[in-house]
Symmetry: C2
Subunit: 336 residues, 2 copies
């Protein structure tokens, strides 16, 4: 099948660009030094490509992502890097042979892990992003509590998410160092082999973690593309069809705000100014006096934020440079 035959809107992944992104990250963080975050793509077949490059442990944000990865045979070493209270489904996949480690930042979550049948945890440490994580100075006591509940404590995690989009590399590096000093101090109190953290935005600046939790690097978006020292290519686009062209100077495509994560703003169209998105439309005009497209033309749009964009689509199509559809992957880790 050729890309021109796809029903639109459709998520299209350029395979050569995807593979270059995977290779670039793998060179910098080989094997266990990278624990790819599946929340970014929610697609076990894409995770299989990451595993083929030697990254056998994965990061997840939801129970559903862990269950789906285990079902896909990729449950060798899953980290649920999030607090969860209902872990029954995790206990079931652990019974069936998956390895799942969960983040814990309170006694309530530790107790929920025990009740759900989870055996291994990381202490989640707040390193500056006001979200989950215990205070660094409380990490040792929480680890002790977990061990008293017969949970294996594998180490610590701390996510400097508030730094991912800091534009200036030097400023980002300085702030990352401050955050990681907190995490390493907590690690000294907690013990264990793992210091987990970081992301696509700090892929070179965070040199303190034992494993990087990056996810967006594989597919990319306009938010990360704006960071000067993030070299990954835009491999995912949303294919749309021009359905209306107005002599007033605008065109309309059939991919709107239900086809894009909108939390970081509108998607982009190369060479065009996006006016606005409705549920099933994006309206735009052309830059530099370029002519408007004709009804029926196809347009490739670039999401502002990759993670929620993937979560809106049932499938993604892997294409080669000439537009041949090589594989179609279900976005099978969606939902909760």
């Amino acid at each position: 099948m050729h890309i021109s035959e796809l029903t639109t809107p459709a998520v299209v992944v350029d395979e050569p660009a995807l593979e270059r992104n995977l290779a670039t990250m793998c060179d910098a963080h080989p094997g266990a030094a990278l624990r790819p975050h599946v929340k970014a793509h929610k697609t076990s077949e894409l995770a299989r490509r990451q595993a083929a490059r030697g990254h056998r442990g994965f990061t997840a944000a939801t129970v559903r992502e862990c269950v789906g990865m285990a079902e896909a045979g990729l449950g060798e070493d899953l980290l649920l890097a999030n607090e969860v209270l209902d872990m029954t489904r995790l206990g079931a996949i652990i019974e069936a042979g998956a390895r799942v480690t969960v983040a814990v930042d309170s006694e309530a979550v530790a107790q929920a892990a025990v009740a759900g049948g989870v055996r291994e945890v990381l202490i989640d440490v707040n390193v500056g992003l006001p979200r989950c994580g215990c205070a660094p100075t409380d990490a040792g006591a929480l680890a002790e509590l977990c061990r008293s509940l017969e949970l294996e404590v594998r180490g610590v995690m701390g996510y400097e998410g508030h730094l991912m989009l800091v534009a200036d590399p030097a400023d980002r590096a300085r702030q990352t160092e401050e955050c990681m000093a907190l995490l390493l101090a907590a690690h000294a109190d907690v013990g264990g082999d793992i210091v987990s953290g970081g992301g696509t935005g700090t892929w070179t600046t965070n040199t303190w973690v034992s494993e990087l939790q990056a996810g967006s690097y594989a597919l990319m978006d306009t938010a990360y593309a704006a960071i000067p020292d993030v070299p990954f290519e835009q491999s995912l686009t949303v294919l749309a069809t021009v359905i209306s062209v107005n002599p007033g100077g605008w065109a309309v495509v059939d991919a709107g705000l239900k086809a894009f994560g909108m939390d970081h703003g509108n998607p982009s169209i190369p060479g065009a100014d996006v006016w606005f998105c409705s549920d099933e439309h994006t309206v735009y005009s052309m830059q530099d006096g370029a002519p408007l497209p004709a009804v029926g033309e196809r347009v490739r749009m670039v999401p502002a934020h990759i993670d929620p964009t993937c979560a809106l689509h049932e499938r993604m199509h892997l294409v080669d440079a000439d537009g041949t559809v090589l594989e179609t992957w279900p976005v099978d880790l969606r939902g909760w």
Copy 2:
């Protein structure tokens, strides 16, 4: 099952509030005077409640919505109020007995209707929102062209979407009148029985259409709730669980930007200030010195925009006033 047993995040619909909303709209626009828009809820079981009140025709924004409605036995009179080029799936459901009318604003779309096996159209007229629709003065010629292609022209549609959230009722009414004057002039040139348009925001101000295309009124959101003369109740909330509480003064729930349409901003939590949403988290503090919740407490969150919120969830749970789950409906019209 009780609401407290649901896996979170979960979409919960208060049945008494839903039924009051349906009744209020039905009183104002009985029977064929309302053509409920299914894009707002994407749920055929909810459409069945609307049909039970006498609204037998429905509006849709995608081919998938039309196909799903036909599969659910609700295909008596479907209007695809959008331009589409690939209508093969519509032709198939028409062959099988559904009635589908499509919007046409160009010769290309009219030709696509013929090629796809669609037999009935409305002329889509631009009444001021810069999106689809032909110029009002071109509507008559386009209708003539459609008839020359042996398409039945049932009338006109024109959506004053740019006026839905105009806060001042008098200003909204004045602008609606101007838009509808354009549509009625086009209708005079086109003919047919149908003048379709309007929405929840102009449910009382648009007195010119023969059928109102409102959808959001059933479930509502904070954007529409801000309009003074829109009396519909918030019947849909997203149920979330508190997973982390920080002595620094914030709490974190397990419903984030992947659980909400974010194009109109963050969701709301009654009595709280929402700080930000991450993929699977919302961080908030309490207003007026109220105490933070405990880990494990449940919170009902209100989306800023209902349509894309529904599109993110696999199911919605209908609950009564005491929290008993009465029915669970698949959000079966999602995707494309």
